[in-house]
Symmetry: C2
Subunit: 171 residues, 2 copies
């Protein structure tokens, strides 16, 4: 752990986020808590992960405020882990990983290798493929039609706006 470089000091929200959640186990632990595994032993057997590795990951997620640890038994002391509001807001990261994997990390010639899980939207009860959409024009947001711009390069009046008109791309 200590050998890796920290990105937390970069002025970049992607780098800073990866500094907290950017290792495989951390996101897989979070995935399983979302799916209903809350106790250490459930997570350990579900993930096939070593006790010490899981302990470190859970501590990191708890320290970062992404998971919360609660005692569910006193004698002997036993704890369960639940997702905080901060953790719930990582759901789009997992959805985005899931969708890309469904599309590219399967053997399409193997009919038994259909996407293993389906996103169900309880609001309307449908199995869906969520997409990033624009709160202004409602159309899809993708690499083909969106880009990130340094705040300093935006006209001053737009820098603090949540949905403000930006200059068109030149390229």
């Amino acid at each position: 752990m200590s050998a890796r470089k920290t990105f937390g000091t970069q002025p970049c929200s992607i780098a800073r986020t990866l500094d907290v959640v950017g290792d495989w186990w951390t996101l897989l632990v979070l995935r399983d808590v979302f799916r209903g595994a809350h106790r250490f032993d459930e997570l350990k057997s579900g993930l096939g992960i070593a006790t010490n590795v899981l302990t470190v990951r859970l501590k990191r997620l708890t320290d970062a405020g992404i998971l919360e640890r609660r005692a569910y038994q006193e004698h002997p002391p036993r704890f369960e882990y639940t997702v905080t509001a901060k953790g719930r807001d990582l759901y789009p990261v997992l959805i985005a990983l899931l969708q890309w994997g469904d599309r590219y990390m399967r053997d399409e010639s193997d009919p038994s290798d259909a996407p293993p899980r389906v996103v169900v939207h309880d609001t309307c009860g449908h199995a869906i493929q969520p997409a990033f959409s624009c709160p202004h024009c409602r159309s899809e947001v993708s690499a083909q039609n969106a880009r990130t711009v340094a705040r300093a390069d935006l006209p001053r009046e737009l820098r603090n706006a949540r949905s403000a008109r930006a200059p068109r791309r030149n390229a």
Copy 2:
């Protein structure tokens, strides 16, 4: 590299995706290519990354079909890296990481620590906060109103549907 466990064999699209893109440098290299850095030296200086580390990451991204390497000069040979269609489809992962970092990985008491970059939607020209939305009912998709369900647990007629009605959650 070789010491880490592979997740590629798990029947889970999240795990399989993390197996390819789930390390910090890989996603940060991709971030910078999206932002217009295409040449080795540009990426190296922008990322502050060791030559050998960048070489390994670029090879991994190229082997995975996420980046494409093209010669832009013959004497001496020089290459540039561009994002493939498969790579462009990882954009939602970066957007999701960016948004979470904008929300949680800043010092909100420091006015100079505003989110460093803003998403601009060229389709409508606005600076936006994209959100995952449902292609069926158009409302937002979040951890509060969505979940993933094992395909085998869906009624048979829904297993291959892209937007089909699913049973309501009991819990």
